[in-house]
Symmetry: D2
Subunit: 358 residues, 4 copies
């Protein structure tokens, strides 16, 4: 689906720019239909969910993510013209990073960017910084609006932190706890674990789950732009993710066909998928049942514990990455996964418009 | 990376066509550099690995996959012109499928194709049939050649069948056992399990692992065409796969940053990644260390046990899918995963050519 | 619009392969909606128009262009799956070209292909041969069907040969004369001129005009995929064309705004464009009025008169290109221009489906 | 080559946004190699050439085009990350346009935008305004830098205004006269004609010619992304252009093959194209000889003479488009044609990197 390193989407396309310490980050949404009510408030709402500094268990770094719409909207409605948006960078503190400009932080992209480009913007990770995810969320806010217009909702939440797994699902608690967990009974243990890790100068991984409800049947373009393939591309492009699984996922490896196949039934005169172990997708095309998938989130690489590394000049050294970092990135990944899922699905929705002769 | 439902790749692009019961399947490889020695034998070798009917534990169906190169090669060398290839369909037995033309087989794409297109080629799954994977393997054979020219090898193998997990790795046994397992000590148990399932009229899932060695550092195009995002798109477009994970994958969710981060060291004057829990990719760009990833393979949906389903006319019914089907699809998925990985990586290799001013 | 050297189209996409002396030429049409009646006859009709050997003033070379549909059609209707087609090469006579394998024919692509690829298939021009246009015509036949379903017709014809310009327009004569001229009064002079050139061992240029009627208003994607920009890309990719102009074209350079602007009026309660000097496009978007454009066709480069040239080894020499060549390529370009126009417009038609919120 | 309505380029890709009366216009350049020195001054230089208000014969409207680079440059050098740029809109005077908000100006895109999108930003043409060309020029400045690094120069100039044709070529005078003509002897007559038209409340068309010197041989991707096809797409997407012709262009229609074919010769041990009537391209691939092409520029549609038109409510009416408009748009089109040519060629240059096995 992607069209270039910094563009995603064939019809509804977002292109982004910006690194953590440049003047600003921003994006262009092209291919958005005309006639959609749109304001900065619509975008800001989702950006505010993504911001750091929202609780004791996320980084206290303040980043203002005040978005400005620069084009493509007239008298409160999209015109069909590309929508340019910009978010100034205001939380830049270059001296936070000057001590690491000549070495490679383990788990970070410092080494690979240097090798690939021959030059590295060492301030805060440059283009590899998580800052660029604000642009994904901004574009995703528009995509979500369109999907909601078609009755589709996307909901992501933390389902696992370390070895603590949520068992129950209650959507109403997701935005009320700092982990964005959906199981109220698991929250305390998760917070305790995060706090412990942070106090240790360490970090911890987790799992974020996503449910898409009300998606029309028929989305996905075989054989290469299948619904799960496109979602995988979109979501796995988010930094820190180490895996994605749909429906039963890796558990399906141990199942028999007689267990895993979803029976069909008739309900209210319509075809209904029972069990939905497939996770909403058959043959790469949405079935109308909920799409369910999970992503594996690695422990954030920035920890203050001493780590063994090397300098640009190829000398062995040690590094302690001080600063204001998240012990677990799951709560901040949640809105980004929603946004990327929305971008994938809205593009597939638009492609579906031409599947049958009209 | 994909450009349409039936095309994959931005520079090195493959477009495929063909369904299980049409006249032929085929493909076009565009963007292949001139100067590469190429013959039908190069392609046939990989196609023969993919064919069914190779052992007692795979389907006895005979499919000839004799490929013919139609263009793009002159006096044994690629010319830079698009390479057209065709594989005739010769194993078509329409009467095998006529009893299922009016109902939806559980786990198959019958329902979704009918909904998406308003019409379904019910013979053998039509475009959703696994037959199209022969075209991926054909294109992948060329991609592999180019990668090997650059010192890169791709090796996939079955690492799990049901709950039987391979513990050891011996590349030399992969092509000598019907499961394509890499652990000689696990083969017998795996074969027994497959045989049991087949005798039960059932099927079983598994996991296929892939190792890419000798990949140059620097492949991947942040932020959307990252190395792992593009591989995920390519590989997750293969039917029957329910998940993909890189390096530690979902195990990283329970790890601490101090455990998961790979230290850097100097070896022979070069930067070396220790441990490689990251699985060869940092910041979405290849590090030069082995890329390691696993895919979850669902149990094949075609089983002869009776299953509950519905007809096109929305009436409840039962179905037993008789025929000649695989009890586990892992050994046949292995060459397809290698091919898709090769297609993803060769395209990223070509994109890397322009990363620095020359 | 194009996605690669051998692909054209973003949604309705054709990929082609094949050179003059390979085994076959062929194509894949991806993104064709399901539900369209399609048979080989539909395609063959247009291919037969393109074939050489149809008159005394075109080359007597016999090329069979018998197309075979290999996929994507079931029980006479498109399924939405990619449509693969193949046309075998049967008129190959390698010895026709062996004397030119070591030199560069003036006006041909021998030199540039050698430089670009480091290797050249010297038989008949290889991929640069006009043979590949058969694939464009095959894909265009499907595109035309879809457009006709929407009330759109595309008609091309020769409007000038050398300095003989057609003055009148009568669509009914186009297929009845060997020049495919639309002015019955100019045909004889045009044929005489062609005959004279052929007897001189020379060739002559011309102009082909195209009219698109009944195109819906609103096709074109500002600012880069404007209707005229996309048509220009599609059509100017046809070999032998040296220019394209819309509406008044280069004559507009000498006109005043008060002359060139088309007034708007109301007719039958609808907005109507008067005069239509703009040629059916305003701001890059179709107006609903006829699109009119012309292309400049160079004199074919293959002439038997002696020409000065060089060998691959960089030695001066002379060449007489003997063989069976067209003295003017306009009549054979006509169906190719129609096909490329259809491919451009059907893709824009599909993109228009998502311009307004639904 | 284009990837969406607002993106152009497959590897070196520009995406733009912005309309005449929004907050700002801007762009993202993706795929720019790392290691290129770049500053606002590099971009501003070309933007200043494009600005209106530079002479008596162009509009006196003041538009500040002060560009700001927001990302992708570190310590004065490109990093390989996308380069975001913004140009604020400061010359907005909405009351200039309020009298035309309910009618369709002849020759403008008011009608087509209303039909396509169902909504029209009537202020100054919205996205159809020439203001967006500033973004093309900004991106083109970077593309030109890269091409110059490879020895390639692009030069455009006015070669015709109305029926006054330049006969001589002197590059040194182009930037010294308000028409950007290259023939010092034609300037006075051209200026007189422009002045006359402006005094009449009318406008006049013209022709802009472009010469590309020092282009490497081998650029162009047969069969659809040929050098001339891609240039045609890029350049014909500029508003006001009604045609493009390469080399002899439409004059080739009257020529014989023996006249039009360029002989090959050897000069200094290298293959040389004589005459170059082909205009630098053979078989769609650059030959190394100068690329020469011309575009037809229509007379600007905004004239103060009374014109017949209709309102949105489909009532007949008249309009006089008052304001500060150019009598001839050629001098302002010149830098835009250079920019689009540069964008087309730099993308083809990058694609050429992978034509032969390395």
């Amino acid at each position: 689906m992607s069209m270039s390193g910094s563009s995603f989407g064939r019809i509804f396309r977002v292109s982004t720019f910006g690194e953590s310490h440049g003047v600003a980050i921003g994006l262009i949404v092209d291919g958005c239909p005309a006639g959609i009510p749109l304001s900065e408030e619509d975008i800001q709402k989702d950006l505010d969910r993504r911001r750091p500094g929202q609780s004791d268990v996320t980084t206290p770094r303040k980043e203002s993510d005040t978005v400005q719409i620069l084009s493509g909207v007239f008298e409160g409605t999209t015109t069909g013209a590309p929508i340019g948006m910009m978010i100034p960078n205001t939380s830049q503190r270059s001296k936070d990073y000057s001590d690491i400009k000549d070495l490679y932080r383990p788990g970070h992209a410092d080494f690979t960017f240097q090798e690939k480009y021959g030059i590295r913007d060492y301030r805060g990770g440059g283009r590899s910084s998580g800052r660029e995810t604000a642009c994904r969320v901004a574009a995703g806010a528009i995509a979500k609006k369109i999907l909601e217009h078609h009755g589709t909702s996307i909901l992501s939440y933390t389902t696992q932190v370390g070895d603590i797994r949520g068992q129950h699902f209650d959507a109403s608690v997701i935005e009320t706890n700092p982990v964005r967990a959906a199981d109220p009974e698991a929250v305390d243990a998760m917070v305790d674990l995060l706090t412990q890790c942070r106090d240790d100068g360490d970090s911890i991984g987790g799992v974020v789950e996503t449910r898409v409800t009300g998606l029309p049947v028929g989305l996905g373009e075989p054989v290469f732009d299948k619904c799960d393939a496109v979602i995988s591309h979109a979501v796995m492009s988010i930094a820190t993710l180490k895996g994605i699984e749909f429906g039963e996922g890796f558990a399906a490896a141990t199942m028999r066909g007689s267990e895993h196949n979803d029976p069909f039934a008739i309900e209210n005169g319509d075809v209904k998928i029972e069990n939905n172990k497939a996770g909403g997708i058959l043959g790469g095309i949405s079935t109308g049942a909920d799409i369910v998938f999970r992503v594996a989130v690695k422990p954030p690489s920035s920890i203050s514990k001493s780590q063994k590394t090397v300098t640009k000049d190829k000398k062995a050294t040690d590094v302690e990455v001080h600063g204001r970092h998240d012990p677990c990135i799951c709560p901040r990944v949640v809105p980004v996964v929603e946004a990327m899922t929305a971008l994938a699905l809205v593009d597939l929705l638009f492609l579906q418009a031409n599947s049958q002769l009209k």
